[in-house]
């Protein structure tokens, strides 16, 4: 009886991606809350940065991994989101949640505008267009210092921490909640008919359109979702900095995002956590590495880029599906080996039986 009941519950959870993803998110949230409660303020801060990057990377993973498009402009979408939130905070001071939603919303609108011409482009042409966008956004913000605060930028701050929570931990919690919410939403989207449409368009546009999928609309939608994620992630990340200014969104940011997404595992969601960890820790690791080897003051920054590039090449050679793809392969491979060893009959007989 109990076994049957257990099985039906599993079955139901399996058929309900929303419930399943929510359950995962709640468990992860509880664990993360416990973790941030036990970390030092600085480590909390870094966990928050990772969470913010995860939001951005999840959007990029959806765009590239699922819909097969390519963007070098997501750093600029982060800037759009961050500036939107900062402008709302400076001028209206409305609800914090609304400000975050506005950051994602405005970035999504810009994403649609950029996505429409992008549907006619692919490969290097699409990369070129998004690259232009990444270059243009900081210049636009620099052109109107009265609105965008010029060099000094606009200050942003999260709402005051409730209860006895420290400011650092509260900020981290906000960023983690943001990351979990986005991951749940995107996970559901990937499981829905939209997710299937994205993958169909990625694999074969003609086949997809024959199957009744509006290819252009699907591509624009993926672009807009990816932009919304970048906008929200940029807004969350700017809360860590406390200031939004153009210097924080250079072209190299967009490129690092793309590299981190690929290394993490394009198309996966959990893989983006690896990507976020890389983005936050890579500069730190390379700094300590270069000081360990006495490479001199300037070497650290270049070393980070070199290591990033090296890891990217290694990942492409050894694990083309990124860290998450590699882990998944290990899991599947390990299980099959284990089962084979446990199988009591001779493999030949088993093969004959099959």
């Amino acid at each position: 009886m109990t076994g049957l009941a257990g099985r039906t519950r599993t079955l139901r959870l399996h058929r309900q991606p929303l419930l399943r993803h929510l359950a995962c998110a709640l468990v992860a949230g509880a664990i993360l809350y416990w973790v941030t409660d036990h970390l030092s303020a600085y480590n909390d801060y870094q966990v928050g940065e990772i969470a913010s990057y995860v939001v951005v990377l999840v959007g990029l993973s959806l765009l590239t991994g699922s819909s097969g498009q390519f963007s070098l402009g997501n750093g600029a979408f982060m800037a759009v989101g961050a500036y939107t939130m900062a402008l709302f905070m400076t001028h209206t001071g409305t609800n914090f949640i609304l400000e975050l939603a506005a950051a994602a919303g405005v970035a999504a609108v810009v994403g649609v505008l950029l996505g429409i011409p992008a549907t006619r482009l692919s490969g290097p042409y699409l990369a070129g267009m998004t690259l232009l966008f990444a270059l243009a956004v900081p210049s636009i913000a620099d052109k109107w210092p009265a609105t965008f605060g010029g060099d000094q930028g606009l200050t942003v701050a999260p709402p005051t921490a409730p209860g006895s929570l420290s400011a650092e931990q509260w900020l981290t919690d906000i960023q983690i909640i943001g990351a979990l919410v986005v991951m749940v939403l995107v996970a559901n989207l990937m499981w829905s008919r939209y997710g299937r449409a994205f993958r169909a368009v990625r694999d074969d546009e003609i086949a997809a359109s024959l199957a009744g999928i509006h290819v252009a609309r699907t591509k624009v939608m993926a672009f807009a979702i990816s932009a919304a994620c970048a906008g929200l992630g940029g807004a969350l990340l700017s809360l860590s900095t406390g200031v939004v200014n153009t210097g924080a969104f250079p072209l190299t940011l967009s490129i690092s995002l793309l590299a981190a997404m690929v290394i993490g595992g394009a198309g996966t969601l959990i893989g983006m956590v690896w990507g976020g960890i890389l983005l936050v820790y890579m500069p730190q690791w390379s700094t300590s590495l270069s000081s360990d080897f006495n490479l001199g003051t300037g070497a650290a920054a270049y070393l980070a880029t070199i290591i990033f590039g090296g890891v990217l090449i290694l990942a492409m050679l050894a694990a083309p599906n990124g860290i998450q793809g590699f882990l998944r392969w290990l899991w599947v491979y390990g299980r099959s080996r284990l089962r084979e060893r446990r199988r009591p009959t001779a493999p030949l007989a088993a093969a004959a039986g099959d």
């Binding site: 000094q152 959990i270 820790y281 700094t287 003051t297 998944r328």
Partner: protein, 466 residues
């Protein structure tokens, strides 16, 4: 039938996701488990025999050339102090991290310095956008943000009592250069080329307070983020407008990128260049290398640095070619002895001189703060006694509880081949001679006055402070 199929696929995907997530978390925790040092003392970063301070500076990236020398030069002075027992028995440990002039990096690294390294103060961090990004954080954490390497007017903000500038506000530079132009180039047509950010705009604000608007014939600007090639369009616009005097509020690279195309177009106006972009040992090599990259002949390349002949600029520290000045002599000795590799690479140029002078200001503050060093006692010492600190500055520091600016004065300098050259390991560069008196003024609309106070001399050798 479906049951075994599913079972063969292994655990449900959500279980796998959870497992992966858990693995990730475990890894995170292991990585992060290096906990912050316990701050048992009342004042973070201070023990009976040490003071831990930090900074974020550009060691790489667009702002690094030149500016990357400042922190190592500061460290040379701290090394000298430590070699003589430190200040009140405390040795200074200076950690400077590379933020690549990116405010996002500055934010992270400053948190690392404060929350993990437990620094007593942030001293000598560089840049307007970068330091604006952490001003609020440092003040909330009660960490002094001392002697920010930027002349932004924004440091004088009563909301942030722990943030102090050091070099003259850019508006003070602009006012003093503007007054010189008004007095010496009356009736001439004047043009501006400025960096389209806080720095350029603040210099222009000061210039406009002094120069009659009717004589300004053209205002050109450039965007530092996209500064890649010669500023030919801006210079031809200035030439077309007939500007006889061209004021540059430019970083060193932009100075070179403005003067070269003008020279190619045989346009030789009287240049007036803000101190930021006029240090001959910094700009001279840039002029030569850009001319070479631009395909100039060998003769033209060797003549390129000569474009600086006749340039009017300003200074708030003794010019580096003033080799009889005791501050310059002491700084040279200090760098030779305590930073030999820096000395071999850069020698005494505008940046290394700046670094030593700034570090010396901090050392004075520590001395005045006394044995019971706290963040409050340090701020009190600067605010109440900063005006009497003995530093290489041509005017005294003007710190008070309501003024967060350091030097508020300049002297005009004329670069000339007849002045003694500034000699560095990169070559021998056109030197400057000071013109007229030292002027002092405020960043606001206050008048420009002659500074008549005494000139400072180092109390005893910089190499022997303790």
């Amino acid at each position: 039938m479906p049951q075994p199929t599913r079972r063969r696929r292994g655990a449900a995907p959500w279980v796998r996701a959870l497992a992966a997530g858990a693995t990730g978390l475990t890894l995170c925790v292991t990585m992060l488990s290096s906990s912050a040092p316990a701050g048992a003392e009342s004042t973070p970063g201070v023990t009976s025999n040490s003071i831990n301070i930090g900074a974020t500076v550009p060691l790489t990236g667009p702002a690094a050339p030149g500016y990357s020398e400042i922190a190592p030069a500061m460290n040379a002075l701290f090394a000298a102090v430590n070699a003589h027992g430190g200040i009140n028995g405390r040795k200074i440990h200076y950690t400077y991290l590379d933020d690549g002039y990116n405010p996002a990096n500055t934010a992270t690294l400053t948190r690392k310095l404060v929350l993990q390294n437990n620094v007593f103060a942030d001293v000598g961090s560089l840049g307007t956008p970068t330091q604006s990004a952490v001003q609020s954080f440092l003040n909330t954490q009660k960490v002094p943000q001392l002697f920010i390497e930027s002349g932004c007017n924004c440091w004088n903000n009563s909301k942030y009592p722990l943030s102090l500038g050091w070099q003259p506000p850019y508006t003070v530079d602009g006012k003093i250069l503007g007054a010189y132009i008004k007095a010496n180039f009356a009736g001439k047509k004047i043009g501006y080329l400025y960096q389209a950010d806080e720095f350029g705009q603040d210099v222009v604000k000061g210039l406009d307070m002094e120069i009659p608007q009717s004589s300004v014939v053209s205002r050109q600007s450039y965007d530092v983020a996209t500064l890649a090639g010669p500023l030919s369009n801006q210079m031809s616009a200035l030439k077309a407008a007939g500007a006889q005097v061209v004021v540059l509020a430019t970083i060193p690279a932009a100075t070179a990128l403005a003067m070269l195309p003008a020279a190619v177009a045989t346009y030789f106006p009287q240049y007036v260049i803000d101190a930021v972009g006029a240090d001959p040992p910094t700009v001279g090599p840039l002029l030569e290398s850009f001319a070479q990259k631009g395909g100039a002949s060998a003769a033209q390349v060797s003549a390129a640095a000569g474009l600086l002949n006749g340039v009017i600029t300003n200074t708030y520290l003794p010019p580096e070619n003033a080799t009889s000045n005791p501050w310059i002599q002491d700084t040279q000795k200090l760098l030779q002895q305590y930073a030999p590799s820096l000395w071999a690479k850069s020698g005494l140029d505008g940046n290394t001189e700046y670094g030593v002078a700034l570090a010396y200001t901090f050392v004075q503050a520590l001395q005045k703060a006394g044995k019971n060093l706290t963040r409050q006692s340090l701020m009190n010492a600067i605010n109440s006694e900063g005006k009497s600190f003995v530093t290489p500055g041509l005017v005294p520091l003007s710190y008070s509880s309501s003024n967060h600016f350091g030097y508020e004065g300049d002297q005009i300098v004329k670069l000339s081949t007849s002045a003694p050259p500034a000699v560095t390991p990169t070559g021998s560069w056109i030197g400057g001679t000071t013109v007229g008196p030292v002027y002092a003024t405020s960043a606001g609309s206050g008048p420009i006055k002659k500074y008549t106070g005494p000139t400072s001399t180092p109390p005893k050798g910089l190499t022997k402070i303790s």
